[in-house]
Symmetry: C2
Subunit: 255 residues, 2 copies
């Protein structure tokens, strides 16, 4: 049984302010919750159907602070999804230290003003697939702990450390270390022809505004995904998730 206070608290975690105050976030879904538990992330509360609980190994169960077996109707009350799953977890955020030396040894996406949760989740998912371990987000990106972002990553957030910071400071310190900064712009050199190194920052801007003027000054390599049409209608850009996927693929293919 869920108390009224508990229900209220879990629902309040839909709000960024509350998530940040308690350093907690929500993950929904049978598979994603199972993976969170297996990954060793700290689960404060597991809300699930009794059948779901039966499938969790006992050593894993012991690590969970609080387990609340509930009915489907109760899960439904808590869920932000129209068809809720059998499990939901309240998870403690992990603090990642950002070691410039270490993270710039590989490619590292830096996201500027990505506000759509689906796009953000997709980029994290693509990064995970391509074995990218770290990612940087500007302060005006959507909160990576937004339940819609977590959902869209399909669990890939377990593999990618996302550092939120002031992007100009980050790029300026990268510049001092002579880390290349690849910027996706409309008039850059084709990413198919441009030489791509094994390390570097991949700066990805908002699809309608592009990379901000201030950040563009840090770009050392202006690249673009060629467009194969000259139609005037409806082909202005790729979305940030698609563009990121293609660029990660290009780096890894040749890496």
């Amino acid at each position: 049984m869920l108390s009224k206070n508990k229900t209220k608290f879990i629902l309040s975690l839909q709000k960024r302010k509350v998530r940040e105050e308690y350093r907690l976030f929500i993950a929904e879904g049978d598979k994603i919750v199972r993976e969170i538990l297996a990954s060793g992330l700290e689960v404060k509360t597991l809300v699930c159907k009794p059948e779901y609980l039966a499938g969790i190994p006992s050593d894993v169960k012991e690590r969970i602070e609080e387990i609340l077996p509930v009915k489907y109707e109760e899960l439904k009350q808590l869920s932000s999804l129209s068809t809720p799953h059998n499990a939901m977890a309240v998870v403690r955020m992990t603090e990642h230290e950002m070691d410039m030396e270490e993270i710039t040894r590989d490619i590292i996406p830096a996201l500027d003003f990505i506000q759509d949760p689906g796009n953000m989740g997709t980029i994290i998912r693509a990064a995970g697939w391509f074995g990218i371990k770290n990612m940087v987000c500007s302060l005006n990106c959507v909160d990576i702990y937004n339940p819609k972002v977590i959902q869209a990553t399909m669990g890939a957030f377990l593999n990618v450390k996302v550092h939120v910071c002031d992007l100009s400071e980050f790029l300026s310190s990268a510049q001092k270390k002579e880390v290349p900064v690849y910027g996706t712009v409309l008039d850059g050199e084709s990413v198919y022809n441009h030489s791509l190194g094994r390390r570097g920052i991949i700066l990805i801007g908002n699809e309608s505004r592009g990379i901000s003027e201030e950040l563009l000054t840090f770009v050392t390599d202006r690249i673009t995904i060629p467009k194969f049409t000259d139609s005037k209608y409806g082909i202005e850009s790729l979305n940030a998730g698609m563009a990121a996927s293609i660029i990660f693929s290009e780096f890894r293919r040749r890496g």
Copy 2:
């Protein structure tokens, strides 16, 4: 002013059944509606703010069957978006003839059971960017005239003819013409190494189920996007939109 009946009718076009009965669909958004008008597609009703109307050339205006200048509040009533735009159009569906000879001269994506509107829209958008003129969808895909699909294409549906048909019949007739069928599967050859022709069908399956067994038998070239991680958590697949974008990019890069 919008009559009650008009409002009711436009709202009813959110339903597939009604769209199919009247062969009409809805597009929302200042830019997308402007592009639809410019593209020559038949607009039955244009609902917009008077300021928006002022920006439409008079010869374009003359082609619109019915123009309804409304207040923002009225647009809001009709909109499926939380922040509606200044314009909405009721558009007549175009009938595309499917000429096997012609469409199989280039690459042509064939989508099997893609049900997520965002994914469908993204794939059409990527196809548009990469100059792909035709696409085929199985009968169990999400309706391409679903307002969420139209929205996610960002107008690219104006450039890509989507043919909905029985995929096994389509593939079987392609087989007779010896058109290669590339299938994205988990255990195929790396798309980076596999030889890709200038024409062929790219069969894309549902991300959780993959390509159906029946359709797999038509695949001549089993390809895969390599995964660059061996993590056990959260990296099971790319979403269909990302996978399609990367594969289109690979074909065009080498084409």
